[in-house]
């Protein structure tokens, strides 16, 4: 029985998309997986489904380095959009960058719950979801 969550991955790396999908399926962490290759497409999806909580993700795993609209730009847009969203969405920043500048930047943004460095192993993903579930931050509505 898979968990009743919608997880969203925004990353242009096809291999990464493959591995996380595989990890989620393995542990049955979600009822639905949303994958976008850049921030802009993810933003379009959010705007299209802004009033539809059944389609909005519970957790977003956001890559920093992407073409067209990168992770930072996505966050900027998301902050503007947030007041209209009626669902608690937890955002994780995911990157392969070990650059401390990026880390400091992420810490200053309150919308970002944590900053994770690739590779994201299947167990790690499972731990995160289970921890969120325990804290009651998931499936509140």
């Amino acid at each position: 029985m898979s968990k009743p969550f919608i997880l969203c991955f925004i990353d242009d790396d096809e291999i990464y998309q493959y591995t996380v999908t595989r990890s989620v399926n393995k542990h049955q962490l979600a009822k639905k997986i949303l994958i976008f290759p850049d921030g802009e497409q993810a933003m379009w999806f959010l705007m299209d489904n802004i009033a539809d909580n059944d389609n909005l993700p519970d957790v977003i795993f956001l890559d920093i380095n992407m073409p067209i609209m990168d992770g930072w730009q996505f966050i900027d847009e998301y902050v503007k959009l947030k007041p209209r969203i009626n669902k608690q969405i937890t955002i994780y920043m995911i990157t392969s960058s070990v650059d401390p500048v990026d880390y400091e930047h992420a810490k200053k943004i309150s919308e970002i719950s944590d900053y994770l460095i690739k590779p994201i192993k299947p167990d790690m993903l499972k731990d995160i979801i289970e921890a969120l579930e325990k804290e009651g931050k998931l499936g509140a509505n």
Binding site: D13, E14, I15, Y16, Y18, T19, R22, S23, N65, P67, I68, M69, D70, Q73, T95, S96, S97, V98, D99, K118, P119, I120, K121, P122
Partner: protein, 680 residues
């Protein structure tokens, strides 16, 4: 008028004068009381002696008052009173004398009281004072009038008259003291009463004290050594002579010795006593002399000390002068002293002479303007500064040496006063070499700034590199990691084959990334790539050939204008790469709505060569992408061929050669890239 002024001016004590005046008044009053109450001792001191007549007593009283006024008068009223009293006793004296001379009675002798005493003795003229007394009063009145006179002659006369009165009174007193009987035929003197004689002695001596610098009085009042001797010797001699006279008369009267022996004895004893007197005086004189010598020695010593001091000061001055000259001559600082008025050099030290290539003789007595060292205007400005603020400090100026060469100098000056003339002391610091060093420093600083810019650039590139490595290399590795994890867990062959395909993709990615990195690293290393003079036209043609396929396919129209600047000195590969990237980008991101038009243009400002490449393509949202415009693996369009590498390499190449690239763009209108090849 003269006296009071004199008294006040000299501030002499008035007590002796006032004292004698009071003494005189009391003497007169006592005698008057004696006559009125018939107490004879009050009139004659010793019983059966000659009495002081009532008139004489009255005269003494008047004379006492007059003398008091003489000392004190300072108003017209008091002066008139003085004349009145003086006239009173003077007239009484004269009338009495005239009675004696012309043997008549004016009726004044017993006018106040009756002289029973004289009547009893059958005197020819009872109540009349003796001629000597009358004479003394008359002359005393005259002298009183003369004492205060402005004329020296009158004052001298008055003084002489006073001495005569003293003399007369003195003889009378001696007569009494030695008890020489009346019958001694000195009637003129002996008939004066003892108290009368004392009164005259006192008033005449006191009055002569007013003009103390005249007559015999001056003998005793002077400050000279002779006056001291007179003051000491005279009273003693008088006393001794009186004593001797008294003793010899006593002896004679007792008939102890005969007359001749008496004379011999008195002479001998007088000589002996005089000798002792002289001895005592001599000792005192010698002591005085000793004191004076000591004082003189002291003064001499003081003088000597003073001379020593002056000598010392002179020496000090000389030494300080020598020091000054030494400093002037050996100082490495250039020093000159000029007269402020004339501007002529008074002194100049070797350091300054050396700097200006002059000799001392060429400079001394001339002005700086004459020698063309500084302009007359600048000197005037300096003098003005000195007058206003008293000094000049570190004024930067240029002096000229003998041959007209510029010497950059720091100039300070101060005013020096000497023999009531003002001089300007100038200190000159040669900073010509410093100036050269300063210029060198400036140049070095400029070079450093260029170098810093370059380094900053390289640093930026390195940072960007670190980022590329951290992201572009780490992400395929992370993927590999995960794939291996899944591969190990996998149980079905089908699944494993599926995973293998993914491995292929990741390794391909890794390979491409590594190749790109190597390419950019090569650019970084080849900063000193060989430059050659290239024609934009030629390079453009060769790039055009490379892109001919794309151009034909897109139907792009490419226009060029290299008329403003046809050539650039640059590495050939870089220029080709830059043109290729910019043109292919322009074609790649063309607008599907328009026929692509691309315009290439060059220009040159100074040494700066600029190339602009403008298209009418899609354009880029610079508000969102400016930061990432030239970053690695940044793509802004969903385009099949967008790898996000072209502009990064272009920028790396341009910056490695010290140039820069910038962009202007509007979404939907087009993009304009501007390349500055050599920022200088």
């Amino acid at each position: 008028m003269y006296i009071p002024a004199n008294h006040h001016n000299l501030q002499r004590p008035l007590t002796p004068f006032i004292g004698s005046a009071i003494f005189l008044i009391i003497l007169g009053i006592l005698s008057i009381i004696g006559w009125l109450l018939h107490v004879m001792p009050l009139t004659s001191v010793v019983n059966n002696y000659v009495t002081m007549k009532f008139n004489a007593a009255l005269c003494f009283m008047l004379a006492g008052i007059a003398f008091m006024l003489l000392i004190k008068y300072d108003t017209l009223f008091l002066k008139i009173l003085f004349y009145f009293f003086t006239a009173c006793f003077g007239i009484i004296g004269i009338v009495t004398l005239s009675q004696e001379a012309f043997t008549y009675s004016a009726g004044i002798d017993q006018f106040f009281v009756v002289d029973y005493n004289s009547i009893a003795l059958h005197s020819s003229s009872p109540g009349r004072m003796s001629p000597a007394t009358a004479f003394c009063f008359t002359t005393l009145a005259i002298s009183f009038l003369g004492i205060g006179s402005v004329s020296v002659a009158y004052r001298k006369t008055a003084q002489v008259i006073l001495h005569v009165i003293t003399f007369v009174a003195f003889i009378s007193i001696i007569g009494y003291l030695l008890k020489v009987p009346n019958a001694f035929k000195f009637v003129f003197f002996s008939s004066m009463a003892l108290n009368t004689a004392v009164g005259f002695l006192v008033i005449s001596v006191a009055a002569s004290g007013i003009n103390f610098n005249l007559g015999i009085t001056s003998l005793f009042t002077g400050v000279g050594i002779g006056n001291v001797v007179a003051r000491k010797l005279f009273p003693r001699m008088v006393i001794i002579l009186l004593l001797l006279g008294y003793i010899s008369i006593k002896i004679e009267r007792a008939h102890y010795v005969n007359d001749e022996l008496g004379v011999v004895l008195s002479t001998v004893s007088f000589i002996l006593i005089s000798l002792f007197l002289l001895w005592g005086t001599l000792n005192e004189m010698n002591a005085l002399e000793q004191k004076r010598t000591n004082a003189e020695n002291e003064i001499r010593l003081l003088n000597k000390n003073l001379e020593d001091k002056v000598l010392q000061r002179t020496n000090d001055l000389k030494q300080s002068n020598e020091r000054f000259i030494k400093i002037l001559n050996s100082s490495p600082t250039c020093i000159a002293i000029t007269n402020i008025q004339t501007g002529k050099y008074v002194d100049i030290n070797p350091a300054l002479l050396e700097m200006l290539c002059f000799t001392q003789d060429e400079v001394i007595g001339h002005t700086a303007a004459e020698l063309k060292i500084i302009s007359a205007e600048f000197r005037l400005y300096m003098v003005d500064c000195l007058k206003k603020q008293g000094y000049i400090k570190n004024e930067e100026t240029v002096l000229k040496d003998k041959y007209g060469n510029d010497k950059h100098c720091m100039l300070s000056a101060e005013i020096l006063e000497y023999n009531n003339e003002k001089f300007m002391m100038s200190f000159v610091h040669n900073i010509t070499e410093l100036k050269i060093i300063e210029n060198n420093l400036k140049e070095t600083k400029q070079n450093l700034e260029v170098l810093t810019d370059k380094l900053t650039n390289q640093n930026k590139q390195l940072l960007s590199f670190a980022h590329i490595i951290s992201h572009n290399l780490r992400s395929p590795v992370a993927n590999l990691n995960l794939l291996i994890h899944f591969y190990k867990e996998s149980t079905s062959n089908e699944d494993r084959n599926d995973l293998w395909g993914n491995f292929d993709t990741v390794v391909d990615h890794l390979n491409i990334t590594l190749d790109e990195l190597l390419e950019t690293l090569k650019i970084q290393e080849d900063v000193e790539k060989e430059r050659e003079t290239l024609s934009f036209e030629t390079i453009f043609n060769s790039v055009n050939e490379t892109l001919v396929g794309q151009i034909r396919e897109s139907g792009a129209i490419i226009k060029t204008d290299f008329s403003k600047c046809g050539q650039v000195t640059y590495p050939k590969i870089y220029l080709e790469s830059i043109l290729l990237n910019l043109i292919s980008n322009a074609i790649k991101y063309r607008s599907p709505d328009r026929v692509p038009e691309i315009m290439l243009e060059t220009s040159e400002i100074g040494r700066e060569v600029t190339l602009t490449v403008q298209d009418n393509g899609l354009g880029i949202d610079l508000v969102r992408h400016a930061k990432n415009m030239f970053g690695m693996r940044k793509t802004f369009h969903r385009h099949a061929e967008a790898k996000g590498l072209g502009l990064f390499i272009t920028k790396t190449q341009i910056e490695a050669m010290g140039g820069e690239i910038s962009v202007e763009s509007k979404v939907g209108e087009g993009t304009k890239f501007k390349v500055v090849f050599n920022r200088k």
